[in-house]
């Protein structure tokens, strides 16, 4: 029988930060404190200077994959992926359709776990800890690494309950009204919905729904946000709003975005990962680098072919 809550171990706090990394909210013994997630509401968005674009050397790797292979049953979907995702940057993953961009993205928060026959080889490190080590609880990973999907998928609940869902299931004991407002503000949706928080989320437009999904993700205060073509189902105006939002969010979060749209990658990302697939349809990484470099002086001719539109 397939017990879905396979955690494999008895160590709920198995994910730890590397030595020296800041973990500002934990009391030394960790016993008597209130549940106090790493949320400081209305914190100045610009307080982290090292997050400014361009300060590459200052950024540490938030997510790292080492010799990672991914299989669906016998089919190898990803081959030998070794990449680094720097902190507080937007990293874009581009490549022809079917090359495994989304699969790679879903390796970072173990969303592939629920697919039967899915198997990962190699390592995926988050803050230097192996996400696939035995004893790691996938639900805990997903709460620290948020995800926004291609098609807006608000829950059939009110706007308020959509945003409050994550904090509630994760046991946050905070002023929920304030957290909901703050999350909606950060997702640049507050002004449009503040009078109708009790309306059904499905009454919002597509672009609003997607920003609501982003707000929902922000409410659990993740360190990383994975975005799987978040604007592909939206019209140009809504896309613009999402892109503006992503720029602001960079100052606080590490963002990995899969996109079909090469111009979008060029507009919003600091770093770019270009993937393609081999004759066996297994996806692999061709080139990674600063977005400016990848788009102006690509090292690999396949990259050049793709971004100039001659391929894919």
């Amino acid at each position: 029988m397939n017990n879905p809550e396979k955690t494999g171990g008895h160590n709920p706090a198995s994910i730890t930060t590397p030595k020296g990394a800041e973990a500002p909210d934990t009391s030394p013994d960790g016993s008597e404190q209130q549940v106090e997630p790493r949320i400081t509401i209305a914190e100045d968005l610009l307080e982290r200077p090292e997050s400014a674009p361009g300060a590459v050397s200052g950024a540490s790797a938030k997510l790292v994959t080492k010799d990672m292979h991914f299989f669906y049953g016998d089919f190898r979907a990803l081959r030998n992926i070794s990449i680094e995702i720097p902190e507080n940057r937007v990293t874009a993953i581009i490549g022809p359709s079917g090359c495994g961009k989304s699969t790679l993205l879903r390796c970072f928060n173990r969303m592939n776990d629920s697919i039967s026959g899915a198997r990962l080889q190699g390592q995926v490190l988050f803050n230097n800890m192996d996400l696939y080590a035995p004893g790691v609880d996938p639900t805990e990973i997903r709460f620290r690494i948020g995800m926004v999907f291609q098609k807006p998928n608000p829950f059939p609940k009110t706007i308020y309950d959509n945003v409050a869902f994550g904090p509630r299931i994760n046991g946050f004991k905070v002023d929920m009204d304030q957290l909901v407002e703050e999350s909606l503000r950060r997702a640049a949706l507050w002004d449009e919905v503040k009078g109708r928080l009790k309306d059904r989320a499905l009454t919002l437009s597509g672009g609003q729904q997607q920003r609501l999904c982003i707000a929902r993700t922000l409410a659990v205060q993740p360190e990383v946000i994975l975005m799987d073509e978040p604007a592909s189902a939206l019209d140009p105006v809504a896309t613009q709003a999402i892109e503006d939002l992503i720029r602001v969010l960079t100052q606080r979060y590490t963002i990995v975005i899969v996109t079909h749209n090469i111009q979008q990658a060029a507009r919003i990302s600091h770093r770019t990962i270009f993937m393609t697939m081999g004759d066996d349809r297994a996806g692999f990484v061709v080139e990674t680098g600063e977005t400016r470099q990848v788009f102006t002086v690509p090292k690999d001719e396949r990259t050049e072919a793709f971004i100039t539109g001659r391929f894919g």
């Binding site: 397939n2 969303m111 639900t139 997903r142 709460f143 998928n153 829950f155 994550g166 499905l202 659990v220």
Partner: protein, 298 residues
Amino acid sequence: MARNRRARRLSEGTIHTLLLLCALVSIITTVGIVVTLLTESVNFFRQVPVWDFISGTRWTPNFADQSFGVLPLIGGTLLVAVGASIVALPVGLATAIFLSEYAPDRLRRVLKPALEVLAGIPTVVYGYFALTFITPNFVRFLNPDAAVFNAFSAALVMGIMIIPMVSSLSEDAMAAVPRSLRDGAYALGANRLQVSLRIVVPAALSGIIASFILAISRAIGETMIVTIAAGAVPNLTANPFEGVQTMTAYIAQTSLGDTPQGSIEFLTIFAVAMTLFVITFLLNIVANLVVRRYREVY
């Protein structure tokens, strides 16, 4: 050629008419049921005031001191139906959650038909099982003073019988909840329990409620289990270890006797059946409305 075409058109018309007649059989059936029940019920209510029937607490058509209060029969029906619901609704819903959210595909393909077998076993077999196995081995174990014919045994077995009604309709409703909603919740750190109870069940609620109502309606209309195992004494009680008579059991048991046709005792069958028909018909309509009105748009 022209004649051939005319012949073709003629037979097309005939066939259309024949098929329409087939479809009308269903309408005629409904009309037949309503007219039958109504005519004889009207005859009954010429002799017994409607209010006495609805509000009376004694049902003794076969005694010298005749009384036609239907409440003991409705009470008996409710006692068994509520008991069956206490078994079937939670178990059926839990089964649906297991099948839809937890079971791997291969297991589901085995479990679903296996559960459907429960609904396919003839009710007379369940009646036999309730009377000869559940009552002596289980009900008497819980309460040694329980009557040979008791509501508990019938309710329990009926509950088991309607589990698949709840589970398969509820599972259909859950299967219609898009995967993207589950992904959205998982991506926020929800575990499977939270996804099931906070996302899938609320989103499928209208279908789940409809399955509940249909199962209750089925329990109210079921005849053989109660006729065999629940007793034949109209008894307004809330004690499941006593014998009760349900509306269906009264109809069946009276038809077995030698009640003279046209007598007031005979007419009671129709009045009780009318009551039964109205209750189940309303429940079915409500279930249909629930599904239609509250169908979620995802």
